[in-house]
Symmetry: C2
Amino acid sequence: MRIGELAERTGVSVRALRYYEEQRLLAAERSGSGQRRYADNAVGRVKLIQQLYAAGISSASILEMLPCVVTGVAAPEVLAKLRGHRSSVVKQIEELQETLQQLDTVIAGATKAYTTGVPCPPG
Amino acid sequence: MRIGELAERTGVSVRALRYYEEQRLLAAERSGSGQRRYADNAVGRVKLIQQLYAAGISSASILEMLPCVVTGVAAPEVLAKLRGHRSSVVKQIEELQETLQQLDTVIAGATKAYTTGVPCPPG
DNA sequence: GCTACCTCTGACGTCAACGTCAGGTTTCTA
DNA sequence: TAGAAACCTGACGTTGACGTCAGAGGTAGC
């Protein structure tokens, strides 16, 4: 498929896909005229990249771990980094759960208070 | 306390604290010579700010919700935004949990494969 | 009162993941 | 075989949360 279709199917922009290629995260065949052609599995690859980005992992780290994700094999150093990222993700989840509780407390309190008290000025 | 102590007690930089003030997220009294003086509860406030930042909430949104967190009262519009942020945090958590599973799969597979197979080149 | 450290304002620098624009080529559709 | 739509390669712009540096003034221990 061409880049526009991949963009549509993954929900990321064309520019982002070119950027991934620049970062060597996503390869593409080229047609005779130089247009990018992607295989079907590129969709999954792009979604994986997005997921890792969302976890706060940098291009460089993703680049490092991608072949391992694909082949299922990793050298000890890479494995150590993977474990590092794993624990960072765990920590992020824990912190977000705390934040969620805070938000819930505020929402619950504010909802109740507003039915009886003075509102907090918006803006 | 002065800004250096607050920085040390919260683990954020002096520059960040000044930035929070710029964004009107954190107020400070001033000494006669113009130095910032913070009350003890500033520690909690800074940690809250960090938590909200970590949830991907912008300065503007934090500014909007802070008085509500403090007073426990919110106008309906603000409340709606709070709920919006809440669901965004929930979504983030879900996505991170997916990512965690992916990482676990990779780590498990790679650990096993490495004991028997070919390593993935590091770097 | 000396000295070492802390703090001030202002202003430019940084970094990552793209957005956007320009100017030209390719591909699809009628 | 038009012409619209998609694609190409640069290359500069953007945004947020700070980092960093300069030059000047404040503070605390001895």
